[in-house]
């Protein structure tokens, strides 16, 4: 009598199977339609990265890092990318980078508006909260199967799985960032006759920007941490190397893939963190742009002086 659990088992597994099967049977076209935009963005970005000569990319990343962050981070980024190239994982790294950037693009496109909505509407926030909790805590393997059933295998479902895992912190931080904007500043914006859109663009978004950028940084980090899981649904790239390494007990292969992931992760982390921080100098006076401007202005000044 005391063994009450033996008397009945909730057939949750069966129910879920029935529901998913029902959705697959009836709504597959909708999910196939979602594939298209993801697939277009992803293949575009990936083709671009694969086409770009490695040296050009390395120099470009170095310049961008110098401008946005600092000389130190620029040097690190270039060394990291060179190292990845010499490890022989350049092509896989570009695939992974394309996947991560695509997922993050969609995170920004969908996550920031959702975050703003939840900051504006308390009821929406309350509905979102358990959904976000589930998205963050549910092991990725659990939704891997239904995603494959709905979207098939390959890179597109990979982006979708990554998106599900990476978007919650961006929504949360956008929400917090908007809510943290001083009430008096918002009140002042209203008192001078701002429309809701003006309040958003003139006050809330600029003042919440550091927090929103922290959310973007989190999304990038989480997206990178998903690449190995995503490779289980046959997504190519560095994750695939790690997965194959595990499967064959090939420590070397797994390590090469793993190290490449870490190098890229640290690079993207430092870069995005630096974007959110306030700088001592305005952007025109620092980095390569500052250097070029000061050189050309110096030249015109000397030309004026001589002529």
């Amino acid at each position: 009598m005391l063994e009450i659990f033996e008397t009945y088992t909730i057939p949750l597994g069966d129910w879920v199977e029935i529901i998913v099967q029902f959705v697959v049977d009836n709504f597959r076209p909708i999910f196939q339609a979602i594939r298209t935009p993801v697939s277009v963005v992803l293949s575009g970005i990936e083709a671009f990265f694969q086409w770009l000569p490695p040296l050009v990319l390395i120099v470009a990343v170095g310049l961008i890092a110098w401008q946005l962050a600092s000389r130190g981070i620029a040097i690190y980024s270039m060394i990291a990318l060179l190292f990845v190239g010499f490890l022989g994982t350049w092509s896989q790294a570009m695939t992974t980078l394309a996947l991560v950037l695509t997922a993050v693009c969609f995170c920004i496109l969908i996550g920031i508006p959702l975050g703003i909505l939840s900051a504006w509407n308390q009821r929406f926030e309350q509905t979102m909260r358990p959904v976000l909790d589930a998205m963050q805590t549910l092991p990725a393997f659990v939704y891997l199967v239904p995603v494959v059933m709905l979207f098939g295998i390959g890179e597109v479902p990979g982006v979708i799985v990554t998106f599900i895992f990476a978007v919650p912190p961006l929504i949360r931080l956008t929400n917090i960032g908007i809510q943290q904007v001083s009430e008096e500043v918002v009140e002042a914006a209203i008192a001078f006759g701002s429309t809701p859109r003006q309040i958003l663009w003139e006050a809330q978004i600029p003042l919440a920007m550091p927090t929103i950028l922290a959310g973007v940084n989190q999304a990038i980090m989480l997206a990178l941490s998903m690449v190995v899981v995503a490779s289980m649904i046959s997504v190519e790239g560095l994750g695939q190397m790690v997965l194959r390494g595990i499967g064959r007990l090939d420590v070397g292969l797994a390590t090469v893939g793993g190290i490449s992931i870490v190098l890229i992760a640290v690079m993207l982390d430092r870069l995005t963190q630096a974007v959110g921080k306030p700088h001592r100098l305005p952007w025109r006076k620092r980095g390569p742009v500052g250097l070029v401007l000061s050189l050309t202005q110096g030249k015109t000044r000397t030309q004026n002086a001589t002529s």
Partner: protein, 414 residues
């Protein structure tokens, strides 16, 4: 100031905070008190049936302790807070019942606001902050710049135009707040404890600055304050609020000399009356001698008739020009001199009716009575040294009496 024109008229304004204001409103209309409503519905009565009119060009102060409803009241005027019931007329338009679009238009053109903690946009420069109201209205960049620079010049911050607010001191930041409000050319300024966050010295400086600007611009200002000294100093009229009600509305002198109840009396007991009371309130009207019209003989007769020792002499514009005293007049009669201009003493003390008592203490060392004039310099009457002393004596007696009653009613007041 055009005293006859009403700019803002508030009628039966009620604001109830909480889940079910309509239910609480019914209770309030049934005559239930603030405490009753709170315990019965959990709703808070913010403003309890307030009516008032504010004249065009008036500096109207709403005074009260925190929680008295004064901030709610001012936010109802531009509808940062939605009133639960009642009417607010601005230029005869009931802004409590207009569409969102219309109220936005009213905020852009008619009512500007200055905030306690300045409410500046920290990511915008001083110039962009000042121009914000114009930007929202859709003015071009050059128009924005031109107007912003103009207003920055008025508050003396032109050289700070391109700095962020965070690099300015508190007083300067509030000048930016004031400039932002002035830039829209709104006729009404709402100032919510605008100077409360400033140091005492800076606060006084800003009060003087506001009075100076107001003398030039003649805005209609609703100024919220919890500081009675400030209220009495700057207000043309002061309304004192308590628990959402208005306890008394009147000129600063009214509040001091005719307090409506012990609450007002307790409030004003620490106030330096000599700073608040104006000479006008103790001026005695007397008949002056008119230069070039009245003869020495006529002056002498008037003096005898009213039993006076001296009389002021005014010119044909009613401006005081001298004073004649009995002995010198008698001498002139004996000498057969007819011209008052020769007899009169041109060295006499003179003040404006709006001067405070405190400011004329130094004039009391004159033997002569002080001539009082209005804004245009016209003779209004005289103040004798004894009048000044008597008024201070009376005020002190009142103050000590009121502190006795206040002490007696202490438990009630708290």
């Amino acid at each position: 100031m055009d005293a006859s024109e009403v700019k803002i008229r508030i009628e039966n304004l009620i604001k109830i905070y909480g889940e079910n204001p309509q239910h609480a409103l019914r209770l309030f209309r049934d005559g239930r008190g603030r405490e009753d409503i709170l315990s019965a519905t959990g709703n808070v009565l913010g403003i309890a049936d307030v009516s008032m009119t504010i004249q065009k060009g008036e500096l109207f102060v709403v005074m009260g302790l925190s929680g008295s409803g004064k901030s709610t009241l001012v936010r109802c005027i531009n509808r940062l807070i939605e009133p639960t019931s009642g009417h607010i007329y601005i230029d005869d338009e009931d802004v409590a019942h207009v569409t969102q679009n219309r109220i936005r238009e009213v905020r852009r053109t008619k009512v500007a606001m200055v905030f306690q903690r300045f409410g500046l946009f920290p990511h915008k420069t001083v110039m962009q902050n000042v121009a914000y109201g114009l930007k929202v209205r859709g003015l071009s960049d050059t128009e924005q710049r031109k107007k912003a620079l103009e207003v920055l010049d008025v508050v003396g911050l032109t050289q700070w135009a391109d700095y962020l607010p965070s690099s300015l001191s508190g007083g300067m930041q509030q000048r930016v707040g004031l400039a932002r409000a002035l830039a829209t050319d709104a006729e009404i300024l709402l100032m919510d404890e605008a100077f409360s966050a400033l140091d005492p010295l800076i606060r006084r400086e800003m009060q003087d600055e506001l009075l100076r600007l107001q003398a030039e611009l003649h805005k209609t200002i609703v100024f919220i304050s919890h500081d009675i000294q400030e209220a009495l100093k700057i207000g043309d009229r002061v309304a004192v609020m308590k628990d959402g009600y208005i306890v008394q509305t009147g000129t600063p002198e009214d509040l001091l000399t005719n307090p409506a109840d012990d609450y007002i009396r307790a409030f004003t007991q620490d106030v330096n009356r000599a700073q608040v009371l104006k000479i006008g309130s103790i001026t005695r009207q007397t008949i002056p001698v008119i230069l070039g019209q009245d003869s020495v003989k006529a002056a002498w007769e008037q003096m005898q008739q009213h039993d006076l020792r001296q009389m002021y002499v005014v010119n044909r514009n009613a401006q005081p020009v001298g004073i004649v005293q009995k002995p010198s007049l008698q001498q002139a009669m004996q000498d057969g001199c007819e011209d008052i201009g020769i007899v009169m003493n041109r060295n006499f003390p003179q003040v404006r009716a709006t001067t405070s008592l405190e400011e004329i203490f130094h004039l009391c060392q004159h033997d002569l009575p002080i001539a009082v004039t209005n804004q245009e310099g016209k003779f209004k009457g005289v103040v004798e040294q004894s009048d000044v002393l008597a008024s201070i004596g009376r005020l002190t007696a009142e103050a000590s009496a009121s502190s006795a009653t206040a002490a007696a009613s202490e438990p009630l007041a708290s």
